[in-house]
Symmetry: C3
Subunit: 348 residues, 3 copies
Amino acid sequence: MFIRNCWYVAAWSHELPAGGIIARSIINEPLAIFRTEDGEIVVMADRCCHRAAPLSMGKLEGNEIRCAYHGFKFDHAGACTEIPGQDNVPAKARVATYPAIERHSWIWVWMGAAEKADPDLIPAACGFDDPRWNLRSGQMDYAANYLLINDNLTDFSHLSYVHVNSFGATEAWARSRPKITRLPRGIRVQRWLKSDDSNLKGVRSGGEELWSSYDFLVPGILLMRSASYDTGTSAALNGGEPGPDVPCHNENFTSQAVTALTDSTSRYFFSWGPRAGEGTDELAEILKGIAIMAFTEDRIIIEAQQRTLDQCQNFDMVLSSADVGPVQFRSVIEQLIKAEGGTARLRL
Amino acid sequence: MFIRNCWYVAAWSHELPAGGIIARSIINEPLAIFRTEDGEIVVMADRCCHRAAPLSMGKLEGNEIRCAYHGFKFDHAGACTEIPGQDNVPAKARVATYPAIERHSWIWVWMGAAEKADPDLIPAACGFDDPRWNLRSGQMDYAANYLLINDNLTDFSHLSYVHVNSFGATEAWARSRPKITRLPRGIRVQRWLKSDDSNLKGVRSGGEELWSSYDFLVPGILLMRSASYDTGTSAALNGGEPGPDVPCHNENFTSQAVTALTDSTSRYFFSWGPRAGEGTDELAEILKGIAIMAFTEDRIIIEAQQRTLDQCQNFDMVLSSADVGPVQFRSVIEQLIKAEGGTARLRL
Amino acid sequence: MFIRNCWYVAAWSHELPAGGIIARSIINEPLAIFRTEDGEIVVMADRCCHRAAPLSMGKLEGNEIRCAYHGFKFDHAGACTEIPGQDNVPAKARVATYPAIERHSWIWVWMGAAEKADPDLIPAACGFDDPRWNLRSGQMDYAANYLLINDNLTDFSHLSYVHVNSFGATEAWARSRPKITRLPRGIRVQRWLKSDDSNLKGVRSGGEELWSSYDFLVPGILLMRSASYDTGTSAALNGGEPGPDVPCHNENFTSQAVTALTDSTSRYFFSWGPRAGEGTDELAEILKGIAIMAFTEDRIIIEAQQRTLDQCQNFDMVLSSADVGPVQFRSVIEQLIKAEGGTARLRL
């Protein structure tokens, strides 16, 4: 149960040098991803139309790709341009291609109807070339359905239990409820926490207030800005969002992308870092270390959750008031799938 | 196809220290097993009612267990006592619990209707604290359905072929037929064998007669006493059971439990040892070594049998006169499942 | 979807010494294979009729095999001759047996109706005792359905792409089309190639013409003779087959057998070598090395193809003019299955 008319993060830009070919599945569809000689991204079904050999095992010849098995050659639009030893190439000899855009250091692929592939729907992630942030990155593979990872990322009440060691989170994360706003293709999650309650180990000092605000957008893109403010700021703002003129410390930004590879496997891409500036390399490394530790904690519990659900077909879930984020985001996905004419029952 | 109203051996008592949590599946049901501060055993479904995270990954707080994911807390009766950040806990927020009793060094769990959990139905196994026996123990995991292990344990004709190396068994085991008596929840299997025909390597000398008698009780509990008697004893007793006043040698006792973890996996717990007394430690170790060797021989053939049956859906079995035990015991299980309102077709 | 009335290669003769037992599945049927004291091959279902233990784990007693579990004994015709401890053996106590013949260094098993097992249907492979050839051999296991391997072997256009490194094949293999002749139980594939276009690395010199001719017979037996001829030979013969009186070089022969072990696994047996004679050992070793390298190249692409097809249930294949061989051979198999009363839809 996946949205098709949606940009999925397929890879980091730097995973694909000129002349390289990436084999990657997205929403169960095996894809071959490469660049034209101009550096444009080409994404096609990783399955030769002849005998289904993976095109990603083939080789690039200019802007075309030749199958490793019997040498069928395809152009960047998926049309077969050569069948060795045969004069005519039938029109049906072609493979599906998918719109793709390189932006924010990620390769985005549109898995739905090509004519609806609107570049403006690509979320405003921050890439390594963004002058505002000093970013580090990582990635992780999950033996779990993407929805369980989305549930995790849309409800931070788990920080108090899962991330005690990494983030040093206290129970405040579980006891407070953020403000959640519905967006056209996702939700916005915002909250103030006392710094003593929200200690980010090795990063923040006491006596301050933490603001965190993130958008979570389909299919599973998290874009979050966090920063510390002087005590009293939240009260002065009546709990509202601090503007760019309010002085802050330890400002940082993270872009994260959950991509469903298959029904039961997912890849999680993330970058994180402090505001750019002299002397922030150490902090950037600290944040990266924390992220890897924390996301490993998530992976362990989520994969265990997946195994339990696999054993128990009719699990009747009891929701809490912290589930507003997961419930709303699943609803966004369900509505978009239905709008495409698909059927989905994703409710918690 | 399992009996539910039945005590299953879940673990050795010593597997569960104070403060520990065991994750174990019984008849396909994942369980979290821990102790209250008074040492009482608590067994609950290993699946938080919130998002199905395994409770066995959580932590104990007094007599309660807190989920590792979002911090839901449950008492020993399975009732949720806290949802962090939420004042009210809905009544349906609970997980199933199972009656459990610690007895004979084993933790027994009742997988059926709680009101029918009669402690008197726990078989009279011998634990390490039993002064009569000097016991050693072990366990083994099977990639096989529990019924195949029960079949093995209810028909010792296989000793002559499977256990030549371990028990030193001759063909007498295959050629004699024991007396089999139906019990309310199992069968009793008894026989006399000439010692020359029933050599237990390293344990018995010749010129004697071996008596062995075991009860095999649901779901798969074997309780066996064996001993050697002077030649002529069986004739003097007219083939009957020797009383406690008849002098014997090499008396030993074994308790064994087959627990179905899932449809295709089982755990086998066993203890064995000679009558307690000075100088029996060496004999106890010898018996343990023989047991491990013999039960490994069983495991190899039974797992092979399981793989063959998996490949052959409609196997039409040819029974022999040695199959009275397996046939009767499967019939006991089948009748008990039917008495619970379940359906089963376990016949050989 | 397999032919049953057909000889399958189960093993090399040298795999089965006197007293040995081979466990092997053919077309999903587990088999126990052994020799009588006279050296005759016996093939029976690897499943005791009592409790389905694999007979291949048992032991040979003269011309009979005794089950390792409860000691049932079976003669070479599959009849149970002894049930330990029981006087009468019921007539239904037997296991299926299969006709088998040892020929050309292979053990052939007939998986269909015994009365139709015609030894003349065994293809004319060359064994190690054939004085004409200096043969070396090897084998390889595939995680793929046998049809994909047959497709590979009935269309050599892949040599130009898969075997550049091993055979040093040029594009000529992909651009020429062989002459294909239908045989009663297979196809014949023949062609002339200019030597410059068909270089077999380390074997041929330039300035010659290569003739290759092979029969591919059910269920997947390839028998190929190749040789180099002086330039102009093909024209002088009007493209026809060179007779034994035409001088040639580098003549070599290969026998290959694809055996479906299960739906998703196959074993590939092969021998290859030059015409026998003084000083051909080095060439025989070179050909073996090339074969292992080339067949590994095939295995990599075919197993990838299988994985892709497994992910894509309704793959709509686009055929090329090089697919005459695969299409015709699948048609042969399909017709033979239908002639047996089976149903098959193997068309590409």
